[in-house]
């Protein structure tokens, strides 16, 4: 078959994004359960996130191997390799998020949990916009940019929410500095998911623009 390698890579790239998407979904659920105090549910979601991150790694490596063996013209190959790497970073960040909760087990006051949930939810939304842009790249290149703009917009909102929350935390007179710093790290860790989604989405935008003659 003429396009055997390309077809396989395409399947693997799609599978990779789906797997990363599932990891991000479990990441969100893990955070929600943690914030609501459901330790057992948190553990199962956290482990599922870690497992899916590992699965995504395997799929990425398989796709990379076929790409290195010469699937697609190099000009497209390099873009696809970069995109795989950037998408994989999202799953890595989701794993780091749940690891943070598992290892450090931070105490989160109920007064902060509502805002943290919003940041988590919006971060997942940023990923979903990226996923939409990714899908458009393979279906309707011209519609890709509107989705990538949504990712940028969501990321900006998340930055603002993070800054506002961290400001509140650091202005709180009752909390110790170490605790404040731990919460800051947690909030920044959550934001990494949307940061990485934006990076991957920027690559998608470039690929869509580059494909135009």
């Amino acid at each position: 078959m003429l396009f055997k390698k390309e077809t396989k890579v395409q399947e693997l790239i799609q599978e990779h994004v789906q797997t990363v998407g599932k990891a991000v979904n479990f990441w969100k659920e893990a955070f929600f359960h943690y914030l609501e105090g459901n330790k057992e549910d948190f553990q199962t979601r956290a482990l599922a996130t870690i497992e899916l991150e590992s699965k995504a790694d395997g799929v990425r490596k398989e796709a990379q191997l076929i790409l290195y063996k010469g699937a697609y013209l190099p000009i497209f190959r390099e873009d696809l390799l970069d995109l795989l790497e950037l998408t994989d970073n999202i799953a890595d960040d989701a794993e780091k998020g749940v690891d943070f909760l598992r290892i450090e087990n931070p105490v989160i006051l109920s007064s902060w949990s509502g805002e943290i949930k919003i940041i988590v939810e919006k971060s997942q939304q940023a990923f979903l916009f990226f996923k939409e842009a990714f899908t458009m790249l393979f279906k309707e290149r011209s519609a890709t940019l509107s989705s990538t703009h949504r990712v940028q917009k969501a990321e900006k909102e998340i930055d603002k929410l993070q800054d506002d929350l961290m400001e509140k935390i650091f202005q709180s007179p009752k909390l110790g500095l170490a605790y404040k710093m731990q919460l800051r790290d947690l909030i920044l860790t959550i934001g990494h998911v949307s940061d990485s989604s934006e990076n991957a989405s920027d690559k998608v935008a470039l690929m869509a623009i580059k494909g135009r003659i």
Partner: protein
Amino acid sequence: MLFLLAAIYLGWALGANDTANVFGTGVASELISYRVATLLTAGFVILGALIEGPKLMNTVGQFTTLNLSTAFVAVLSAAIVVMVMTSLKLPVSTSQAIMGAIAGVALSMGGWSALPKDKLTRILLCWVFTPLGAMVISAILFMILAPLANKIRSFITFALIMKLGIIVVGCYGAYTLGANNVANVTGAFVGAELIGPLEGAVIGGAAIALGSLTYSKGVMISVGKKIFPLGSFSAFIAVLASAITLQIFTELHVPVSNSQAIVGAIVGMGFLRGTKAINKKMLFHIFTGWIVTPFFATGLSFALLIL
């Protein structure tokens, strides 16, 4: 038949140098392996030589009256010119080398008046119009195909079409190369009635194929690396435009330079894309083909016959 060794060498050199233009892009970009590229080139060169090559034999063989020894001197001179220019790393066109050498034969036999001016003018005009024609064709192809390519909705579909396109135009390029250039190799001996047009096409096509199969790797990769940075779509258009140009001149029964056609095609797209596609090297390339090669070959064959 020993005389044919000069023709086989010329065909081999042509295959080693010129087949790079058709599959260089595919090989340099690791789209297809060098081995597959040379096999496809060899197959399509022979096909083009057999189907359309005999049409051009008269242009080369009957440019002037040739006998076995003058045909041999002409082919040998062209082969020496190709060998010297290649060893000096200068661009060379076998079409211009062989026609220049045959013009030298005519000059040695009857001076300036022995040159068939009408045939010569026609050939010179075709040489001038090779890069110019390729330039116009590539610009037209670009204007027609670029909007269509932009309509391809999926990134992946676009990437796959480009992959297939580069292989298909490579095969077509090899076909037109065989069709247009085989007469350079054996046309003189067909004119001298040593062999018939079909035999000439078989021997010439096989010699070009041999050059591609045995000695084209270095040129193929270096030419491919020059063309491919233009982008896959532009590389596709460049090879297609040069193949169409060669096809047109095949129908006009005039052998022309594939390398000059591809340079013209790249320049044509450069105009449309607003990039600086003309540089001194390219102009030197065309100038060398038009002036140095035929004059060198004319002088050499003339000198060999006078001596």
